[in-house]
Amino acid sequence: MAETETTTVPTPVPPVPRPADTVEPAEQHSPKMCARDISVFYGDKQALKDVSIDIHDDRVTAFIGPSGCGKSTFLRCLNRMNDTIPSARVTGHIELDGEDINSAAMDVVQLRARVGMVFQKPNPFPKSIYENVAYGPRIHGLAAGKSEMDAIVEKSLKRAGLWEEVKDRLQESGTALSGGQQQRLCIARAIAVDPEVILMDEPCSALDPIATAKIEELIHELRGRYAIAIVTHNMQQAARVSQRTAFFHLGELIEYGKTSTIFTNPVERRTQDYITGRYG
């Protein structure tokens, strides 16, 4: 195997971002979320080292990097999902609209309603499609009465692009849907509570290319409404859906900038090597 490492790998052509995505909205307002010097420890092991990233409204931020580089760990800091892991310890400062999310004044339940999450494996509740979407609004008291709830469910499913496929079988189990439909159901569930930020942890890694294309299309449509952060293994996907890209390696943030810059003209050697497929 040592022989193959020394042979020169023909440099693959880096995926070229679509022209529309390269046009950035003007930097007229402050970032939605602001992370400064975030370090995460699992026991004695440091998984993330002093990462600072801003996440903006109306923009998709992609986190890329090889497995175990800390990108999912960082994502889970943004809505404090790491609190559920007993051995995890987070240091640093994260602000949502200028509020410290780790402060005593910030209620973690409210935070997670404002910063929603979509997971790697589709994980609908083993309940009906309707109940899956209605659960969040119900526990937060967002709907007064059945008709308002119906409206929220319909709106959320429409935004997630699932309404046409499931409108006649809302009482069927959410787990009976196909993988791609389940993931869109999870997105509908996340947007039903009207979050400001949506975090997506490799949302397409368990899906086939057609379902993946649908989710990517959906991310494009949702971009105008929510700040979106997405973790992905797939560099083409990062190039297609995001405006900003952060490259992580071994727990460190190597490079963060416009997606077009990262993919065509990265500053760091390691970024260049990764996106051209030399490792990862």
């Binding site: 999902m81 559920t84 309603a113 994980n123 083993p126 309940k127 526990i139 937060h140 569930r189």
Partner: protein, 409 residues
Amino acid sequence: MNRPDQSARLKRRYASERRFRAAGFFAVSLSALFLGLLLGNMAWKGLGGFTRTEAEVTIDFARSDLMIDPAALTGGQAQEVIGSADLDGALSKAATAEYGPEAEEMFGAGGSRALGRGLINDSSLLQRSATLWLPAGSKLDGAYKSEGDALNERLIAKLDAQDKVRLRFNSDFLTASDATDSSAVGVWGALKGTFLTIVVTMLLAFPVGVLSALYLEEFASRNRWTDLIEVSINNLAAVPSIIFGLLGLAVFLNFMHLPRSAPLVGGLTLALMTMPVIVIAGRNAIKSVPPSIRDAALGVGASKMQVVFHHVLPLALPGILTGTIIGMARALGETAPLLMIGMRAFIAAPPSGITEPATVLPVQIFLWSDEVDRGFVEKTSAAIIVLLIFMLLMNGLAIYLRNRFEQRW
């Protein structure tokens, strides 16, 4: 492809598969055989307990020594009046007059009870002579069903010749309670005591067990104390049941001074015994709920308690119920701890509440199996059949509930 060494390997593989299947089939057949033997034996011996021998006798009430005022039998004190009258004596006299001196003990307590009921139903009998079918005493019953002593065999032969003896369904066995005369005993008192005890056990052990399991699994932090509690609970599940009886005796009777022999104390003691089983099964069921469901609920902003009660508990419930069934079935068949807290007393009346003296079916079976009177042999087996049916009904209900709560994904 068909190399010789490969075909030999294949042959060996199929042979070992066949051997394994044969061994498994043998094991299952063996257990089925023993189960069949047990049930068959019970049914064979016990079915006799559900029938009774009845004999015909003519009593001339007008000329008997019964000093009963017919008017008193219509009031509320009818039971007392009947209870104080010498029905045994009247029966004995009538039988001797009809069938000779051998028939002196022909009717037992069951016969007198039936006669008393007949008089309350129709007080006009007291003015005339009547011919009645009454349950025979245990010795005559035994002689008619199988074999008895010489005296009763002669009596049976005489009755049979005149067509004055018959076999009927023994409804008293299901409605009466314990008695000293085997012809008059029934399981109703023990059945009711069992039911009350199990209800107390269920009401205590299920919520406490499930809440403990939830707390330990979902809320408690992992440290030396929770480890200690976990080890203790696992050990508690393996403690011999008689130890729980001693604990119940020391704590509930000697320290808290709760009533002796009561379903309340029995239920408390059995709850102590059942709870660890429910906790262990509950923790395993909760552990097996996929973490992705917890993440999903947390991700939409559910609080810890909402996650647990809206998602984890409903998904874990079938598993918890399975553990509960096992624990309750064990409690239902338990004898030893109940002996320690005095539920082995002779109780002739069914309990009317959880603080009344009572006994339970397994203890009743234990007591009857110890009796000298041969009539108790078939009653013991019949009581075992009742206990098995009660257990089957309870488990059936639990399985029905479990299937209803089962959610598939």
